[in-house]
Symmetry: C2
Subunit: 192 residues, 2 copies
Amino acid sequence: MQDLLIKHIENTLGEPVSPEMIASLSTLSFEKSFDKKELLAETGQPCNYQYFILEGSCFSYYLNEKGYKNVIEMAIENYWITDASGYFRDTPAVSTIETLEPTRALLINKKNFDKLCCSHPLFDRYFRILLQNGMAFLHTRIAKTISEEAEARYREFSQTYPHFIQRIPQYLIASFLGIKPQSLSRIRKKVQ
Amino acid sequence: MQDLLIKHIENTLGEPVSPEMIASLSTLSFEKSFDKKELLAETGQPCNYQYFILEGSCFSYYLNEKGYKNVIEMAIENYWITDASGYFRDTPAVSTIETLEPTRALLINKKNFDKLCCSHPLFDRYFRILLQNGMAFLHTRIAKTISEEAEARYREFSQTYPHFIQRIPQYLIASFLGIKPQSLSRIRKKVQ
DNA sequence: CAAATTTATTAACATAGGTGAATGAGGATA
DNA sequence: TATCCTCATTCACCTATGTTAATAAATTTG
């Protein structure tokens, strides 16, 4: 069931989703379950789906020159995740997406995504709003990554995303913040 | 004249722009000239416009806790620039946008932007593609900012954006890369 | 053109965060 | 219950980048 997604769309748009839209969604997307540690996308491969997490969690990472994993995004219930390059631009994925727990998600492939957006202007608006919010968020994230110290970034992150702090292992949060797990330990010790 | 923008749309979409679309554009946007160092958006204020640079250049920056400027984006001819939070979400801008030279730009306000997107599906697609490319670009930028050393980031930047290296002052490029101008000097000395 | 301002370079020193290694705490698996 | 793993913590040491300051070069302005 895509109840969660429908609520998310209604919350985002501030208006109800019609039965026809629900029907389109049902036709154009499908649900799938994944074990812990399954890959939803893989660096260098096509990324065919965009995932809306219904239950569980996952994260995407970029492998740097030294072969270390660097967290780009984390997603729990009510979040979309994909490899933006791979999915939107039909190029090989630059990131890998991996589940952290057994996870259920709604999947939409690129063709159906385009159909969905064409099928009803509200879908189009919904996804444009998501992208716009994403841009705004990433600008702020970049700005703070390059301009604030690790301690300030951690403080803000834990205030803004307490649910992530609870659900996601610390070494991934460290990576997301751009530091090593040892440094995050040091900071946490100092902070509390 | 919005010739530059029309070409940009055609290049992005891979198909021609119809006379009606050109008419919509003319009605819904306008051209404006700015002196050097004029502000196109200001932290804390509403950001009413999205700017397509026809001639000149500008950059956006975020003021951190210490009051230092940190470069988020740089834009020269054929680039769009705005404060994503302020413009798309009608919240106060988180960044300031400033011209680096006398600059001519096409301006579109939010209402007209929405009208434009509704007026023809190709506009809608064009702007969605821009947003998608923006997301892909920012994911990669974040990933590299947190995972590669400053020297590697500078090397890649100068290879990928030689035209920026020529046009934009070094201290802004340093800031964009997340380092101080002194560090960039040191890196440049080592590199060449 | 001269003065004033902005930008780039260099150097000596300081520090946030990285590195590598050891230790312990949970969970999972058998 | 014993054996793995994975994850978090701590410590000693290291290094990339920041800081401050001085100087030079380039650019703007009157």
